[in-house]
Symmetry: C3
Subunit: 455 residues, 3 copies
Amino acid sequence: MGRVSSIISFSLTLLILFNGYTAQQWPNECQLDQLNALEPSQIIKSEGGRIEVWDHHAPQLRCSGFAFERFVIEPQGLYLPTFLNAGKLTFVVHGRGLMGRVIPGCAETFMESPVFGEGQGQGQSQGFRDMHQKVEHLRCGDTIATPSGVAQWFYNNGNEPLILVAAADLANNNNQLDRNLRPFLIAGNNPQGQEWLQGRKQQKQNNIFNGFAPEILAQAFKINVQTAQQLQSQQDNRGNIVKVKGPFGVIRPPLRRGEGGQQPQEKTNGLEETLCTMRCTENLDDPSDADVYKPSLGYISTVNSYNLPILRLLRLSALRGSIRKNAMVLPQWNVNANAALYVTNGKAHIQMVNDNGERVFDQEISSGQLLVVPQGFSVMKHATGEQFEWIEFKTNENAQINTLAGRTSVMRGLPLEVVTNGYQISPEEARRVKFSTIETTLTHSSPMSYGRPRA
Amino acid sequence: MGRVSSIISFSLTLLILFNGYTAQQWPNECQLDQLNALEPSQIIKSEGGRIEVWDHHAPQLRCSGFAFERFVIEPQGLYLPTFLNAGKLTFVVHGRGLMGRVIPGCAETFMESPVFGEGQGQGQSQGFRDMHQKVEHLRCGDTIATPSGVAQWFYNNGNEPLILVAAADLANNNNQLDRNLRPFLIAGNNPQGQEWLQGRKQQKQNNIFNGFAPEILAQAFKINVQTAQQLQSQQDNRGNIVKVKGPFGVIRPPLRRGEGGQQPQEKTNGLEETLCTMRCTENLDDPSDADVYKPSLGYISTVNSYNLPILRLLRLSALRGSIRKNAMVLPQWNVNANAALYVTNGKAHIQMVNDNGERVFDQEISSGQLLVVPQGFSVMKHATGEQFEWIEFKTNENAQINTLAGRTSVMRGLPLEVVTNGYQISPEEARRVKFSTIETTLTHSSPMSYGRPRA
Amino acid sequence: MGRVSSIISFSLTLLILFNGYTAQQWPNECQLDQLNALEPSQIIKSEGGRIEVWDHHAPQLRCSGFAFERFVIEPQGLYLPTFLNAGKLTFVVHGRGLMGRVIPGCAETFMESPVFGEGQGQGQSQGFRDMHQKVEHLRCGDTIATPSGVAQWFYNNGNEPLILVAAADLANNNNQLDRNLRPFLIAGNNPQGQEWLQGRKQQKQNNIFNGFAPEILAQAFKINVQTAQQLQSQQDNRGNIVKVKGPFGVIRPPLRRGEGGQQPQEKTNGLEETLCTMRCTENLDDPSDADVYKPSLGYISTVNSYNLPILRLLRLSALRGSIRKNAMVLPQWNVNANAALYVTNGKAHIQMVNDNGERVFDQEISSGQLLVVPQGFSVMKHATGEQFEWIEFKTNENAQINTLAGRTSVMRGLPLEVVTNGYQISPEEARRVKFSTIETTLTHSSPMSYGRPRA
């Protein structure tokens, strides 16, 4: 009997397993009954800073398609050139720096000459001056579009940490591999390795030169084998962000204004002549460029394929918000995109509702936390600190929202009869529901308690 | 020994399970040896009608990417505003009604004024008139394109049930979530819940206001908490289609002709000036607009991105067919799309053949049934009733077909030598194969028996 | 105790199974630590030649999205019309032939007339001349774009085998079914069946007429039932490539030059007026059209959506390379595409490096072998035989590469300070790394040993 019962229990276990398996065959990664504010799951330390990586296997990030990282680059830190298998948007949260991207097939456009001082002595003494592709100054609020396969480096030339956050969309067809984020290092390495790799476990990640035979590199670069071995950085344990010794004299035009970080951004007319000179950066922190601005409440700015055409290739866009205490972003949903919302400053109470009418998020979220907002999920933000600032990355080059309340909301678009019959309320109440809130996006609200148990 | 053998049998079971699993790792959802005419798997009843849902986990629908629903809205029934995570085409099978969609960010364009009577008294007495977005009249044959995230409502203002069928494409990138259909209710609820949700089981689906705290809704809408609670519809068990009490006086232009349902559709020149005024409806039941028309046989009409540009965004198109008894639609296949074929009237014998040359469908199909036609599968339709009418939704904004027989068929395009050598027939026979049928799409055929065992 | 331990071992087995399953839930098909040169896994023999099929379940091909086939058509062999569920590029490796494609809905454009002799007698005697769609001459180096659902045939009118290789992209949305290659046969059959079908096992694959009832075919084609049965080819065991008896007199314009295979290709201005006349073929073997040409090293030619606009629909492009002994293709990676590299002639030593800096391929590859190059993986080619010639198919209509070394390389685009700090080398060494190699793509290299154990 005992054996029979154990066999039966096994059979049951098997059945459960099998059913579990069958049930999961059909992908349900967006079947989200509970969302969380996400923190990084791994910190990769380097000589000149650190990279904090969110686990892109977390159900919410899997649903959104995003991989998310934060870079903290110390002063004089240089994030060595790296490219990804996916298109990426990067936002400058804090500090200032320099950034270079190497566009495939494009010629160098920045050349040394006696007019621009640095490095001049060296250049002349050796009869040869450096040339390279464009270098850009970065400041807070800059949003940078980087296509897949394009190597990019950052240098912190300020006195405070340069903090960047980046979202790469693994789900659109700029990524032609599987849905894992794969950084390819041109220089440096990652002695810790990456944690997500279930097959490989923790192992050192080397730069791509490391995989070639030194003799081949020597022939490809017309250099000696010792220099080729040096390119492989095998003895180097500084990681992917290194500390620059001495001056960092890359050729670059001088800033126009003394203070740095305040130069007027050059606006183009949207007609970029070649891929090589295509604009890839837009600043979202200038309230005078905001899409929505109310002095007492805050502002919201967006960058999409209309003001940064390269986003059409990347199929990404971004929204920057900055609101004051007790300002509320009216409940809204994403029409055609998933979003990843990262808090850059302050804190807010956020409620989010899924397709079943369930409250799936009801917490205070604060600086440094990440929240995924899937397509169609309604979300309300209410600033609880002095200032609440965030950046939202969206999986559509022209992401649209729809609001529940306000002047351009779904309720305003519905006839009175639909409202009265739908909610069994009087025409008078329906009028108030439709017309009381005249703002479109931001409104005042009084302090509220939050985090109450779900209704 | 008994135990050992049972252990062995377990191991075998495990192996089988594991092998089964391994075999299924690689998705094979279009490995279809047998297709069926599909009926709804769940009926969601409401006060003012019912929604019949096809199981989108059925292998055929999984392969096609479509989710399929039928709405039966009783007279005075109002389908409350709802939006989806996917683009959708809706076809009016029966009845007449009104339809409104709320386009994100667009202003109201329909305003009350003394010229149009209804609701005038109320409006004046309170010094405030209603405004809302465009409302459209629906009649049989209307095909309506609805993007993801756009809330839509229907009202039956006729005397007979308003019957709609809708296909949402879960597989194209208008859906940024997983491959499940997620209706988001703006008003009403679904006390029964949806059956497909394997994780959640059967549970009531609420409207999205239900997930927000009433205090937050009160602040967002500038209304009192009691009205906010009313928006949540928690005590409401009418479902998602409600019965309107009293007149339904939404503002709308008068129909031009007395009979209703017969107004000439306004044709635009294809250049719609803004997203807000983009045309989203095309009628497919007017034989004078048909693409193929033979008086004695019937007609076929299509709507694609050329005559309804919004379909470029949705990546969908549709084909409407209506043929008389013993008319045959020549064997054909879909070049670049999957199709979902729904019978609106009558019956027909259909044969379908897969890539292995096997007959995977050989039955009579009748009104109310659904059949999936995967890309490349050849299909022949032969009307067995007095009239056979159907609507076919296709997963491509410009779906193309190729016929096996007829004037523009693949056999006509092949040189005689390919035909004679390919089938080992004489040049005389090959000429007959190529040239005997001079029709392109529809032909006469004599009555045939059907359903015979496969060859 | 024994039973308990066996139960425990079972539980462990179950756990392992379950864990294995969980680990594999998240697709990792591009987690490639080791790549191989791939050979065909199945040979399908026919009367007039053979089709060699690569297993598209092999991890590398799964990652790339490609299905790959080689066709060997003997003289007088006719590959019978077949269409696929995916867009396809075909390259003529060897021989000469004729090719026809039947574009859906397009009329016949090639008609018999007394001016072009063949078949004339027959035509007149029966008062009826053949008409069909365009027939094209094929020669070595021709690259042919074929959309999904378009039937295509080939005929070898030369004296040597006509050898074609074809790559179909199962991963882009031209394929609306699952990720399996499905050939639909218009004529002929495949008595062996296909091996990949895990559900179906080995079974004869018939042409699509076979699935229809003969009576239906008779009515559709207005032919008698005997001819209809003949179309089904049930008694035919010649396979999908048949031997033509007697002359193959399809109507076609005469070649302009006597030798054949050397006619100048008609270049269009890129503005093709209709889909029916859209150009679908480009020759890649003419060095005078090469993108990169160095007399002592070799040449590289590409075809993409700019010079063959139909590729925009197919989302594919191709690169043809031909280099001499000891020429090296500088290390490079694919920015926005996966590639499938097939060696048409000679041999080369190839090293490839993945995102972890590991050498994943380090072998000599020779004529007839296939190698997948995933997006971002760096690859170096070094001709070891007298001549190395290859064709690379890419999953992007405008695939881009980035080189590691050379005049337009990533190293040239980096400022000197990034190079010196990144690799801890002197400015003098960094200059050599940046500027020593002045070629862009091809360079000389001295003979090297290869296949050494990984560093």
